[in-house]
């Protein structure tokens, strides 16, 4: 098991390397850099620009720049933000924490709702319940995440109960810890709800589909024939047998939720990676963009690794192989 995980982790590192190289190459081929916009200004002399360019290291060839970045990453800086004049990591890490503060609760809540509901939906026998279910999930699935976020904002505005944006109230820092946590939770509520609604339906449909398939199998009929209670049949027998593809989906849903999170952060002005990424792409703040992408990749790899561990724990057939 340990060796298996070590191998998967090594694959992850290799993937990080690949992603970073790809990011450098993409930026190389994209037109312009951080200084392009200053060039337009007539007040700054070409000499100044050239000096700045040399100072930022933008005049170096690509492999040299990549090597510099690797060295900086080894120091934990992950390059330097041109726009903020600080190491990229000091910008990224607090933002990443804020993004996780949204994504992880949203992930857990989505799955905690989707699994029992999906299993029950698979067990429903009446036709109208079935139609209601697929109608409802299709509608939710068709709603773009932006629209859900905007609707959440609208609710906040109209009711005035919820904060319209941000992560904490202005005076939050002055309060004691308990009040601070409560304030934070109050601010998290709408963004997390928007993310749960955005991701829940897809997970729900997958759970229902794979459990339905298992319910058709002859071992489920055999178990029913042995007189097992219905609850036990659905959750004790069908769900474990259907878990395999769902666990793989769990790993993927980490990545999916992150991308939903970036969007919702921008719309609901949550100080996560989303707004920072948008801003630095527009400013061509090279290392911040690369750093943000690398962080997303790390989350994705971590999600898949977690999926692997869960698969190992759940499926005796995989346990035997590994």
């Amino acid at each position: 098991m340990i060796r298996y995980l070590a191998r998967r982790a090594a694959h992850g590192l290799l993937m990080l390397f690949g992603v970073s190289v790809l990011m450098f190459l993409l930026f190389q081929t994209a037109p312009g850099d951080f200084l392009s916009e200053i060039k337009v200004s007539t007040q700054i002399s070409p000499e100044t620009i050239a000096t700045l360019r040399a100072q930022y290291g933008l005049d170096q060839p690509l492999p040299v720049r990549y090597w510099q970045w690797l060295k900086s990453s080894a120091r934990g800086d992950f390059g330097y933000s041109f726009a903020y004049n600080t190491p990229a990591s000091t910008l990224l890490l607090p933002r990443a924490r804020n993004t996780l503060l949204l994504s992880i609760p949203a992930l857990l809540i989505s799955w905690l709702i989707a699994v029992p509901l999906g299993v029950l939906a698979a067990g429903w026998k009446s036709r109208w319940a079935d139609r209601l279910f697929s109608g409802g999930t299709s509608t939710l699935l068709a709603l773009p995440d932006v629209l859900i976020a905007l609707l959440a904002l609208l609710i906040a505005l109209k009711t005035g109960i919820f904060p319209v944006g941000g992560m904490t109230s202005i005076n939050a820092q002055d309060q004691n810890t308990w009040a601070y946590v409560r304030d934070l939770g109050w601010h998290m509520l709408l963004p997390v709800a928007a993310m749960v609604i955005g991701s829940l339906t897809m997970i729900l449909r997958h759970v229902r589909a794979s459990v339905s398939e298992v319910l058709e199998s002859s071992y489920m009929r055999a178990a029913e024939g042995h007189g097992l209670p219905r609850f036990k049949l659905l959750f004790g027998y069908a769900l474990p047998a259907a878990a395999n593809p769902l666990i793989s989906l769990f790993g993927l849903s980490v990545a999916m939720l992150l991308s939903v999170s970036l969007l919702i952060e921008v719309v609901m002005s949550w100080p996560g990676i989303g707004p920072l990424l948008l801003e630095s792409i527009l400013a061509r703040d090279l290392f911040v963009v690369i750093g943000a992408v690398m962080l997303s990749t790390v989350f994705l790899i971590a999600g898949n690794l977690l999926g692997d561990v869960l698969l190992y724990a759940f499926d005796p057939r995989i346990r035997r192989q590994a």
Binding site: A222, G227, L228, P229, G236, A241, R317, Q321
Partner: protein, 548 residues
């Protein structure tokens, strides 16, 4: 029925099925009548055999008794009464209490009857706990006891194991243990043998016989194989198209003259007139010399290699127009041999010569050349694309070989269909619309389309019920004499061997352990051969009487 004349009050039977009819709503609004007006009674401790071809409604009966019919099935009329209570009107709680504790089911395929991700101990214990409160120790003791009863010597290991770690026969034993753990009064066994190899079949049959005697079980034993019922059933019901066409003891049924009943009891009789012509050892069509093939499985993160299956120095020779049967239990390497001969696998060592020339392997096969070796697969019916018409299926090899014109191909297709006993008018039907037996014929027609010299049949008949097997064997014999075909017939049982093959080769663990003739099979002393012969005797397999 006979005790009624004595004037004694007839005791209420354990199970009484009266005038039961079940319909299935099939695709396109069609209705299939699975059961029609079926009457059935089982007294305590009595065992009833239900015998019929596939599609005769036997399995629907088993499911209907426990109210396990799929959603598209409908109880049209009739009633099922267990100890006088109507099963159709039981409350969900009463129904659950009846299932497993009173009436238990062994389903058709042991490989699929157990949940793959739960330990066997848990699956056994759950059945027990579903029908009563017991302490952990009691549950454990009962599980161990029942596993011993079905013939496991190390119950503790089985309790910890998962289904994929057991063989098919062991899984069937566990499934039987699961059915019996709550001490039911009635056991419904739905084709409990059909997915197992012959030796394992005989073991399971012995086990069921012993359990029936020891536990005083009433049993409803559903099968297409009359041989299995001889020792087990007190009374037999013969079914056809959802109806009971005959009933009575085995002796009584054997005496009837009904063609269907005779055909299902003695499938080999329809072949009895055929005598195997001995082939003078003429020129060898196929020559296999020193054939070896190893499959290794590498496991993740391990440098160790596991040999999964192997062939080890196989020598074999087939003369033109003959039939050689390769026998052995599952895992003996016979399918690998078939796949090598048909060119699907490239051997590691040795050579395969067809008329003195090395055969082309699949990758070397030139387009346009018509391969002289054709293969019919295990479960041939599923080797057809259900969305192709019969014409498309049979003509496909001709099209791949770009044989003549479209009109010629159609003409040949129709002729081939006629030759395998299918109505050429059905050429436009989709493969999915044919019955199992007809699809087998279609697969045969497809194999014959390219005019092969050698036909390799890998367990090609084992998925069929006995009467259908007999029909196919008759057809194969007929085609052989007409076209001078040569057959390499691979099988795990001895059914029809003596009526069919001139030579028998027995394989075990990748090697040929014995070469003999069907007539001398019975005198063999090699353990692998003895096992096959004894299994055939215990199962009363048709067509082996001459051999054993």
């Amino acid at each position: 029925m006979s005790s009624g004349d004595l004037g004694l009050p007839k005791p209420e039977p354990l199970l009484r099925v009266s005038a039961l009819s079940v319909d299935y709503n099939a695709a396109a609004g069609n209705v299939v009548h699975a059961l029609r007006n079926l009457d059935l009674e089982i007294a305590s401790g009595e065992s009833i055999g239900v015998l019929g071809e596939s599609g005769s409604g036997k399995s629907s009966l088993a499911l209907a008794l426990l109210r396990l019919l799929p959603k598209n099935a409908r109880l049209v009329s009739g009633s099922i009464a267990y100890r006088g209570r109507n099963v159709a009107e039981l409350s969900p709680a009463d129904l659950r209490a009846m299932r497993g504790a009173e009436v238990a089911l062994i389903s058709q395929e042991p490989a699929l009857a157990l949940n793959p991700v739960l330990s066997l101990g848990q699956q056994l214990a759950d059945v027990l706990r579903a029908h009563g409160k017991l302490t952990r120790l009691e549950v454990n003791a009962r599980c161990t006891e029942i596993l011993r009863q079905v013939g496991f010597e190390d119950p503790e290991r089985i309790l910890r194991a998962y289904p994929h770690e057991l063989s098919g026969g062991q899984r069937q034993r566990v499934a039987i243990a699961q059915a019996l753990i709550c001490g039911p009064k009635l056991l419904i066994a739905d084709e409990p043998l059909s997915a197992l190899d012959a030796a394992t079949q005989a073991d399971i049959l012995d086990l069921l016989q012993r359990l029936k005697r020891d536990l005083g079980l009433a049993m409803l034993f559903i099968t297409h194989n009359a041989g299995a019922l001889e020792a087990l059933a007190d009374n037999i019901i013969v079914m056809r198209d959802g109806e009971a066409v005959a009933r009575g003891s085995m002796d009584k049924l054997q005496a009837t003259t009904d063609d269907y009943v005779q055909g299902i009891l003695f499938p080999e009789k329809s072949l009895a007139t055929h005598t195997v012509s001995s082939i003078e050892s003429g020129a060898a069509l196929l020559e296999v010399r020193g054939l070896s093939k190893r499959f290794v499985q590498k496991r993740m993160l391990s440098r160790k290699e596991f040999v999964v299956q192997s062939l080890d120095g196989i020598d074999l020779s087939l003369s033109a127009g003959s039939t050689v049967a390769v026998l052995g239990r599952s895992g003996s390497g016979k399918s690998t041999l078939a796949r090598c001969v048909a060119g699907f696998e490239t051997p590691d060592a040795g050579e395969i010569l067809l008329e003195g020339n090395p055969i082309a392997t699949a990758e070397k096969n030139e387009r346009g050349a018509r391969p002289p070796v054709q293969m019919i697969f295990q479960d041939a019916a599923t080797s057809l694309n259900p969305r192709f018409t019969a014409r498309q299926i049979v003509a496909e090899p001709l099209e791949i070989a770009r044989w003549k014109t479209d009109a010629d191909r159609t003409a040949r297709t129709l002729k081939l269909m006629e030759e395998v006993g299918l109505d050429p008018d059905w050429a436009a039907r989709l493969a999915g619309e044919f019955s199992g037996g007809q699809r087998h014929r279609l697969a045969l027609a497809r194999a014959l389309a390219a005019e092969p010299r050698l036909l390799v049949m890998d367990e090609a008949l084992s998925g069929l019920d006995m009467p259908l097997q007999a029909q196919m064997v008759r057809l194969l014999i007929d085609l052989q004499s007409r076209h001078g075909l040569t057959y390499l017939y691979i099988s795990h049982d001895l059914n029809f061997i003596s009526l069919f093959a001139q030579e028998v080769v027995v394989m075990d663990a990748g090697q040929i352990v014995e070469r003999t003739t069907p007539e001398k099979l019975g005198q063999s002393v090699h353990p692998a051969t003895r096992e096959l012969v004894e299994a055939a005797e215990r199962l009363h397999a048709p067509g082996v009487e001459a051999a054993v």
